[in-house]
Symmetry: C2
Subunit: 312 residues, 2 copies
């Protein structure tokens, strides 16, 4: 009988659970709210309750959890999570092992998403893949030789903190000019806000109800689709900036595939076309020509399916 | 009985051969000149002749060759070599298999050097390592999970073509502002030449016999050691520039070790100290703290020993 897995995407605002078959199909799913001050033991109790209520619970052969934070995968410990301050050296694996059947695997959420992209977008058919999560932050995960690559301390894949311009503005991480500082959701919105200071008529403002503080990447994508020049230029610039960093990654890592996921990737061709053009202009010809750059068709599922497959 | 290997470093100006024991000790070695217009069959005949003259030839269990060029490792073919234009789709493995015993492995010279650094500098005791060759060009190789990582088309490790400043000067590769364009040997020398236009008295000029075109990284290192401020600043800047790129590599790849090799790395602390300082300032704390950055103690041997160990 084909195996069935439980995948859990443990984020700062929401916990998603899904029972997944061996092909990555979601058989059933559930979710509940999480909050900044959530207490690990209470969240674990909720996870257990929701899991046990799943129709397929008795068939689950292994469970995986992707957590937004710094994870010790070997020990299954959440070292810390910026958006869940009470989770500090939390032995999540141990807490779950008492309550859930089979092997429990814990990993970083970006790693889980990369593992999901590897199985869903690439169908497990490439050897080396990079997954880039474009959202508030820019995260990533690396599949190397068909395996999730975690690096020496489990922090590999921090693509958002590759420098684009070393003399650029300070980044949250303490460095300067990291790519996240240019294409993170909030930075895209504030670029628009800045550019609108000199131009009052823009589809962006119509869509944000006249409030520059309400501008989101979603609004910027809709405005660009309505031919708003400011919005179009913001996406072109963001794509070009990502393309520059990707060209370096392609020369260095020579992957078969780069998968873009996360909310900002929903801009689709608006961001994908300038990325591809810049990579063609800047990366070595051969590695660039074989590297497929795509937007994930499964953004919503990557986290839970990737988590479910961690024990595969 | 411990195995014995033959390693060959096939460069554009010289071919080095060495018989190497399982610990990386060179038991005997030889070399002969190579030239821009060399013909593959003739070079192969020389390799065979030199190999057969080795005292330990009969004990050799496998042979590895590192070639300066684009290599198909699987087929053992030299696709092309910028400095050996007559080597084009040369089936080097086949040519050697007829004449030399045991398994023959062919790889890129930067990969061979990285493999050498992994066994000699890291003693095979880390999982993930980057080797950066600083010379005329800036090359590199990646050890991932204890294995030589070649990427999808065998071009992985092109560290010299990670962008430092995307708006910077054009690089030979066609892109702009690649790190090689700043810290490659010729660029270091021409920086000095440029700076000397406004200052006629410098230890650099004394050491180069008054000829700005005779400035080399070796001279710049000697001048810096004599407290020449221009030379000191050139090394500080180069170290800072490499440190910026390494910070990105550390965040992305999270290696245990970065080994510097090649002629320019002989500047030692002059370049190593600003690299380390910049990495501390810019990379994530945990991956930066565990990543040892060292200058290879075996620069001269890395190529042949790494090649010899390709079949290990």
């Amino acid at each position: 009988m084909a195996k069935i897995y439980l995948g859990i995407d443990l984020g700062g605002t929401e916990v998603k659970l899904a029972v997944v078959d061996a092909y990555g199909n979601i058989l059933e799913h559930a979710s509940f709210q999480n909050s900044f001050n959530s207490v690990p033991e209470e969240v674990v109790a909720e996870i257990v309750r929701f899991s046990r209520n799943m129709k397929h619970f008795s068939e689950v052969s292994a469970t995986g959890v992707g957590v937004a934070g710094d994870i010790d995968q070997q020990k299954g410990v959440v070292r810390f999570s910026p958006n869940l301050p009470r989770w500090k050296n939390t032995p999540l694996k141990k807490l779950l092992e008492r309550e859930l059947p089979g092997i429990i695997s814990i990993d970083n959420d970006a790693n889980a998403a990369a593992w999901g992209a590897y199985w869903l977008d690439a169908k497990g058919k490439v050897r080396n893949l990079i997954c880039v999560t474009l959202g508030t932050g820019v995260g990533g995960g690396i599949i190397c030789d068909g395996k999730l690559y975690r690096g020496a301390t489990g922090t590999a894949g921090e693509i958002g903190h590759i420098p684009l311009n070393p003399d650029g503005p300070r980044c949250n991480c303490g460095s300067f000019g990291c790519i996240e500082r240019y294409v993170g959701a909030a930075h895209l919105s504030s670029q628009a806000k800045e550019l609108l200071k000199t131009r009052k008529h823009s589809k962006i403002l119509t869509l944000s109800g006249g409030d520059p503080d309400a501008i989101t990447p979603y609004i910027l994508a809709r405005a660009a689709e309505s031919n708003d020049t400011i919005a179009i230029n913001i996406w072109k610039t963001a794509g070009r900036q990502l393309g520059i960093v990707f060209a370096g990654i392609i020369n260095f890592f020579n992957p078969e595939m780069i998968v873009l996921a996360g909310g900002v990737s929903k801009a689709g061709k608006l961001i994908l076309d300038p990325i591809k053009e810049t990579v063609r202009e800047r990366a070595f010809e051969k590695p660039a020509s074989i590297c497929k750059i795509v937007i994930s068709k499964y953004t919503q599922k990557l986290g839970v399916v990737g988590a479910a497959f961690l024990s595969r």
